[in-house]
């Protein structure tokens, strides 16, 4: 006769193993659907993962406003914004393929692990079929990798590192925002006109993926026109007080300080550089200059008068004159009372582009969306004619070169447009060395 050895401990162990198996995240297990989080009801859920705290919280708050506006327009609310100017007419204000658009939000905290955790929660618990947002390339690269594994589309927000669509590119990831190479390619000729070819540049660089590629790009572009690079100094993200990094610039022999910083870091480092009198000093017989390769109105607001006359580049500016920009600024301005930032613009556009791609493909399957976006040419979204290049999922479009206004008429005119650099000048080959080392791989539907 067989004895059955049931013990309390054995029962608990079996129960724990069974429970853990049942609780395994659905994104790591197969499902009955053909792809992850296939919408089954009358609604579809998008996940907006933005920094609500940390050095890039300003951008995050504006991104969230833009996402809300985009969802409102997709569902037929408001004045329709850029849906009226978008070259594609697939979207009709009835949501996405007739399903009402709903959204969930997460806080990336400008930290890769926190961003991955909140994205994973949105995919796993809330059923998000697309993740968008972010104001840091470190975060974007991390979340893009997670979305690739999970089988959802990642429409990145503000991410400017070459790596996002370079060595860390993924088939499920798409970037509308420009990148460090494009900034440098647009900015260098303007710097040459403003400051000549005989300059010595000192770089202060945020010590993470964006800062590294920004430094590499702007140093290469300025060295190509004759500038010398005296020093490249890495600073920790969120350092706060940059004085101990700025003080050595005084006796470095440099006559240009390039601040490869963004967000709160840029506000602090620029303000402190001005406090240290860098802009009043002479070096090598020339006026000392400061350059901020990546700019935004939000940063200009934080930096105040320190920003006056300082050149930089932007993906977009609310003062552009095209119809798409006018429509977006009107919608956003009437809803929130102030003009949108470039972070808001890129997030709004990415949401529309995703919805449009699903609608054109007639399918929410990520692989169908990838196919619809690859090589897609569009217009009317604020940047002129734009291409989503198939080889790296990077958008190619005009770049805006700006400088801080000397006498701003109000708090919204802190940045002046210097020129709009045409797409051809900022386009590079898919196998450019600064973007080498990565491959898109295969799209992952997650099933």
């Amino acid at each position: 006769m067989r004895r059955q050895n049931f013990s309390r401990r054995g029962l608990l162990r079996t129960g724990a193993i069974g429970g853990a198996g049942l609780a395994l995240p659905t994104i790591f297990t197969s499902s009955a659907s053909a792809f992850t989080n296939a919408p089954t009801g009358s609604a579809v859920t998008l996940g907006f993962n933005v920094p609500q705290t940390g050095a890039y919280a300003d951008e995050g708050a504006d991104e969230l406003r833009a996402f809300e506006l985009a969802v409102e327009h997709l569902n037929g609310g408001g004045d329709g914004g850029m849906l009226n100017t978008f070259s594609s007419k697939a979207l009709d204000g009835t949501g996405i393929m007739g399903k009402k658009v709903e959204f969930v939000t997460g806080d990336t905290q400008t930290k890769s692990d926190a961003a991955r955790a909140s994205a994973q929660s949105m995919i796993q618990k809330d059923g998000a079929i697309m993740i968008s947002g972010g104001s840091s390339s470190g975060v974007a690269v991390a979340v893009q990798g997670l979305c690739q594994e999970a089988g959802v589309i990642f429409m990145s927000g503000l991410t400017h590192s070459n790596d996002t669509t370079g060595k860390d590119r993924k088939a499920n990831g798409f970037r509308h925002f420009f990148n460090a190479y494009m900034s440098a390619a647009a900015l260098a000729p303007v710097l040459q006109n403003l400051y000549g070819t005989d300059r010595k540049a000192y770089h202060l660089t945020a010590d993470y993926t964006w800062g590294w590629t920004q430094e590499e790009s702007i140093a290469a572009a300025t060295e190509a026109m004759g500038w010398q690079t005296t020093e490249k100094v890495r600073t920790p993200l969120g350092a706060g007080d940059f004085s101990s990094y700025i003080a050595p610039v005084l006796n470095s022999g440099a006559d240009v300080l390039v601040l490869n910083h963004y967000g709160g870091d840029m506000v602090n480092s620029l303000t402190q550089a001005v406090q240290f009198g860098l802009r009043e000093r002479q070096a090598n017989g020339q006026d000392f200059q400061i350059v901020v390769p990546l700019y935004s109105e939000l940063m200009a607001r934080g930096a105040g008068s320190a920003i006056a006359g300082i050149p930089g580049s932007q993906n977009w500016d609310w003062k552009l004159e095209d119809e798409g920009t006018k429509a977006f600024v009107k919608s956003f301005g009437e809803k929130y009372g102030f003009p949108p930032s470039q972070a808001a613009h890129t997030c709004y556009v990415q949401t529309l582009l995703y919805a449009d791609a699903v609608t054109r493909a007639g399918d929410f399957n990520p692989c169908a969306v990838v196919e619809a976006l690859e090589g897609y040419e569009f217009d009317g979204l604020g940047n002129g004619p734009t291409l989503y290049r198939a080889e790296d999922h990077q958008c190619f479009k005009d770049v805006v070169v700006v400088k801080g206004a000397e006498n701003p008429q109000d708090e919204f005119h802190l940045v002046e447009i210097v020129e709009v650099t045409p797409t051809e000048q900022v386009t590079y080959a898919p196998d450019h060395p600064m973007f080498a080392g990565g491959a898109l791989g295969e799209c992952n539907p997650g099933a």
Partner: protein, 343 residues
């Protein structure tokens, strides 16, 4: 040589902030025996006193200017601060410009009150509990305080500029015989350094030359004997908690033009200030001040390119390395007394 002088100067303002926070921490530890992890939050609340006064002073009346248009093409809404209406444009603008120094007047009563409520409402219940319990409860309190500030003021740094009279920088190099612009130091950082010196001297003078201070020092040395003499030492120690809170708050107010305040700035300073207290010697007021300046200057030196090229990342860990070395060679810190935290 000029590079070394720059880094010494540069370390002074950071060291001043460390010294002021560490001074308050040591006052609380020396009097009440409490390890107060909420002290960084007091520094942060002080900074937000400056933000609050700036917001109050810039409260505005809105009028419509039909001749100008906003970004949407609508008639422009023009904001005029009430203080400019009440005191005239020039005096009103000057009052707003001097918001940070004026915030000292607001911060002193606010911080003493916050310190009093914190001590009477929560911390007094933990006097006889182990240090681990005190650390847990004050750390929890710090998180609550910073979340309250985040709720009301948001997560973003808020620019709080120095008065325009202090916006430039001083060419110290010329005074010392170096080339022009070789040693530059912003006026406000000098102001901060001297301000810290005055506060530190004031606290020491208060403890050294007043009857109240004498009783407090006696209580720090032998609490029971002072109690047996019929002196209510607890009441005096509660006031010392308020004084320590005010010192941290004033340090925060005056630091706002150097670093735009945000809700987690206290936490950034707290950990370093604790290292300062330990290096200076637990319970030693002169030790806290000495270690504050020492570590501030060392941290500044570690940021020099020459040092970083030899030891990459040293700027991030120098304070902790120094703390390890000092505690290995002088376990009581630079000026620590026998018996403190040794039972």
């Amino acid at each position: 040589m000029d590079a070394i002088l720059i880094q010494i100067l540069n370390g002074l303002d950071k060291g001043s902030a460390y010294a002021l926070i560490a001074l308050g921490l040591t006052l609380i530890f020396g009097t009440l025996g409490v390890v107060n992890f909420a002290h960084g939050a007091l520094f942060m609340i002080g900074a937000f006193c400056a933000v609050t006064l700036q917001k109050i002073l810039t409260l505005s009346v809105t009028t419509i200017d039909p001749e100008r248009t906003d970004f949407l093409g609508n008639p422009m809404k023009v904001q005029t601060p009430y203080v400019e209406n009440w005191f005239g444009p020039e005096l009103g603008a000057a009052i707003i410009d001097w918001a940070v120094p004026l915030a000292i007047l607001l911060a002193i009563p606010v911080m003493v009150l916050v310190g009093f409520v914190m001590e009477r409402g929560l911390i007094k219940h933990f006097y006889k509990r182990p240090h681990a319990d005190q650390i847990l409860v004050t750390f929890g309190l710090a998180i609550v305080l910073q979340e309250v500030i985040k709720y009301f003021y948001g997560a973003n740094p808020i620019p709080t500029p120095a008065p325009s009279a202090f916006k430039g920088s001083l060419d110290i190099g010329v005074w010392l015989g170096f080339d022009p612009y070789s040693i530059i130091y912003p006026y406000w950082r000098l102001v901060y350094f001297f301000f810290a010196g005055i506060i530190i001297a004031g606290v020491f003078a208060f403890l050294q030359f007043t009857t109240f201070g004498m009783v407090v020092r006696a209580g720090m040395a032998d609490r029971e004997t002072v109690g047996l003499l019929g002196i209510d030492i607890d009441k005096r120690f509660t006031l010392m908690f308020g004084l320590a809170a005010a010192v941290a708050g004033l340090a925060g107010v005056m630091y706002t033009p150097i670093l735009s305040p945000n809700y987690h700035m206290g936490m950034d300073f707290l950990v370093l200030s604790f290292v300062v207290v330990v290096v200076g010697g637990m319970g030693s007021l002169p030790g806290a001040v000495l270690a504050g300046f020492l570590l501030g200057i060392l941290q500044s030196f570690a940021s020099m390119n020459e040092v970083k090229s030899l030891l990459p990342g040293i700027d991030q860990i120098i304070i902790y390395l120094v703390a390890i070395v000092i505690l290995l060679t002088r376990p009581r810190g630079l000026m620590g007394r026998r018996g403190v935290m040794e039972d």
